[in-house]
Symmetry: C2
Subunit: 196 residues, 2 copies
């Protein structure tokens, strides 16, 4: 490994991290490549030396987020987990990149096709794990007989709603850190068949 090559890869990583921070703070659309160069402490041109275009840079950041999330979810998933465990794993993973994930969801329609594929990939992973447990609980008649896709979209919709309104729900700090337990408990209560 060259000293030169090492330096090169280090600079690339610096830019990627800077972009990560900037996009997490301001979303993917507003920030300019100038701003990212400044944050990374490199010349404007250097950004384009490492990433062909702004679009490619954005996609690299999103790809990186996707990998981090799916890895974390897989890692924390063990057979025999309860529904509560699965939901908590999901929220823990998102919480670790809460700001960036939220902007990904919000800016998605304005981002290139590849970004949408990444989001679909992330959701497939969590959907798979949820489906396993929910299928079992349905057989045991412990939760309501509603289609999995409806239950899944209800859960994702709820989480995304909290994330999108994070400034409203938790002006300082993480919404999920604040509401995680409550969200999981309430959602499970909603699914349960309860005869008093």
């Amino acid at each position: 490994m060259n000293k030169r090559e090492l330096q090169r890869q280090q600079t690339r990583a610096t830019i990627l991290t800077a972009a990560d921070h900037i996009y997490a703070a301001h979303g993917f659309i507003r920030p300019s490549t100038q701003m990212i160069a400044k944050e990374a402490g490199v010349a404007h041109g250097t950004v384009f030396l490492h990433f062909q275009s702004q679009e490619k840079l954005i996609l690299a950041v999103i790809e990186h987020l996707g990998m981090a999330l799916t890895a974390q979810i897989h890692e924390a998933s063990e057979p025999g987990h309860s529904l509560s465990d699965i939901l908590r794993t999901h929220l823990d993973a998102i919480e670790a990149s809460e700001a960036l994930y939220t902007h990904l969801i919000l800016d998605l329609p304005q981002l290139p096709e590849e970004a949408q594929q990444t989001v679909i990939g992330i959701q497939s992973v969590i959907a798979h794990h949820m489906d396993q447990v929910i299928g079992q609980l349905k057989k045991e008649k412990k939760i309501k007989d509603l289609s999995f896709s409806f239950l899944f979209t209800t859960w994702i919709g709820l989480i995304h709603y909290y994330l999108m309104n994070r400034r409203l729900f938790a002006p300082h700090g993480s919404v999920l850190a604040f509401y995680k337990d409550q969200l999981i408990a309430n959602f499970i209560k909603l699914l349960e068949v309860d005869c008093k």
Copy 2:
């Protein structure tokens, strides 16, 4: 009423309608004032003759949407409505401006403070009606004992999720037209206390 004044108001209305169409199709952020002028069939400068700035124009369009939605919800609301009636009224109102409403939700963080107030206003109206009926059903022990705010955010989250992914759920046409009945039925089933 002057002929001149009439013409003036007509031009203003033309621009507002054009902006409505353009924003519904492309969101509030991307389209240029040039594009709206072209759609309205007026000169670029004319837009600024009627609206001080792009921001004021956007706010006027959003204000107009807010009025339309709240008016429609109030109009269709009668005392003695069932939960299903309330939810349907809500979805009917949104469906009438589905594309514009969806972009309002998506672009909200990038829009001025006033826009957020408008959205809060709309949601207050529907929340008020829902709260009436749900409070009653809770007393009758017909639905689960969960906080109203949780049930409300679950409902809004679900609807917004479908709207935000409308291209996925219903590539051509309205998501709500397609899924309205199913969404209402499933959501009510979720709330119900069902003892078999």
